[in-house]
Symmetry: C2
Subunit: 236 residues, 2 copies
């Protein structure tokens, strides 16, 4: 968890035109002619869970589109504690800050085996210069980051532990589109998302299980009582 450099396995140049997730990615609105502007191959990167895509402070020259898997963006506090600031899911873009010549602002750590496309800065800036069709998508991505950040602040960092955990679970269920939450996070990660200790996260989950708000389906895999959680989320 500490060491972590990029353990990338190059998996060939991606075919953006025929990309299966393009409609949900940064290049969604590009048209046939626009692809001619891409003069550099778009690499595909495969990273195992636990590895790092980039580090806070690195001066990067690439953005990334996450094709599959799950990545956490982490910032460290002065006292050494860590806080997970956002999650990136398939279709999301990582490293937008390099468009402003800024270094990466987080540690990007893989939670579930990830496949990404590496978009060289020059490709994106060129497209940005030549075609207006990238602008909207770029703004959409920025906007989504801001929205998610605000939501984490108000929903996941405010109020009592029970309410925060409940809201996170609902959020995850909502994303997954069912009332099941797959084995994504360690208790430590839960704590780092919610700004509480591992122990409190564990205790709260245990309490939810006893109150039949959660039902274990395996290691950290749950089915949840959405209505019950919603009630907690809205009050506490």
């Amino acid at each position: 968890m500490k060491g972590g450099r990029i353990q990338a396995a190059w998996a060939g140049a991606a075919g953006c035109r025929t990309c299966g997730i393009r409609q949900m990615a940064l290049f969604a609105d590009l048209q046939e002619a626009d692809f001619a502007l891409i003069h550099v191959p778009i690499d595909e990167i495969v990273l195992p869970a636990g590895s790092n895509l980039y580090h806070l402070g690195d001066q990067g020259a690439s953005l990334f589109t996450l094709r599959s898997g799950l990545i956490k963006l982490v910032q460290s506090l002065p006292d050494g504690a860590q806080r997970i600031v956002r999650l990136r899911r398939p279709g999301d873009t990582l490293g937008l800050e390099v468009l402003l010549a800024a270094p990466y602002e987080h540690d990007a750590v893989v939670l579930q085996d990830a496949v990404l496309c590496r978009l060289p800065l020059e490709v994106v800036t060129r497209l940005q210069r030549e075609t207006p069709r990238l602008h909207t998508q770029l703004m959409r991505r920025w906007h989504q980051s801001v929205r998610e950040a605000d939501e984490w602040l108000t929903g996941l960092s405010t109020g009592h532990a029970r309410g925060r955990v409940a809201r996170l679970l609902l959020h995850l269920a909502d994303i997954g589109g069912s009332n099941e939450i797959p084995d994504l996070f360690s208790r430590e990660d839960l704590g780092a998302i919610l700004g509480m200790t591992t122990e409190t996260a564990s205790r709260t989950i245990a309490e939810f299980r006893r109150s039949d708000l959660l039902h274990s389906l395996g290691r950290n895999h749950f089915r949840c009582n959405l209505d019950g959680l919603r009630q907690l989320a809205d009050q506490a």
Copy 2:
């Protein structure tokens, strides 16, 4: 503080070309020719402290540049509590979300008498379409919002009350460029920024005063011991 509709006093069309704060605002990079693209007058709006620039959920048709004053962006929680999510200072842009046809995502409440320029959506979208010189500034603004949001999450919503208050005070001093903090916030606002009760905010400030970390210069106007605060901020 509750009522609040826009109590705008129209103060004439602003002359963007000769604007005193343009170099720090959204239109910083525009050139002479670009201004010809602005076919609608840019109104100037004056709002007194306590009034509302816009409300969460309003379907807006304008962005705003804050020329002077201070504005808080507030989101309400399901249980009725409020959380201040960001502050906007002179030079900042408000309402970027309307570029994506989204309704305003916060209540924008004036903390210090404010003067703003109202930028009609059509003006900004036209400039965006016709000149590349707006793109960088737009991205800079989005980027700054994300950065600020992340900073609030890690710095102001994590750890003990003392550390959070200390970090906020340092942040304010840093912005002001001195070790003095003017009378900006009520205790209630401090609580809403830091995610704690008014009482805890009050107690913490009182404690800082007793420990000579703060020295009262008036109502809520302080001189602060930066080194002492830094020590608290880094550990707690």
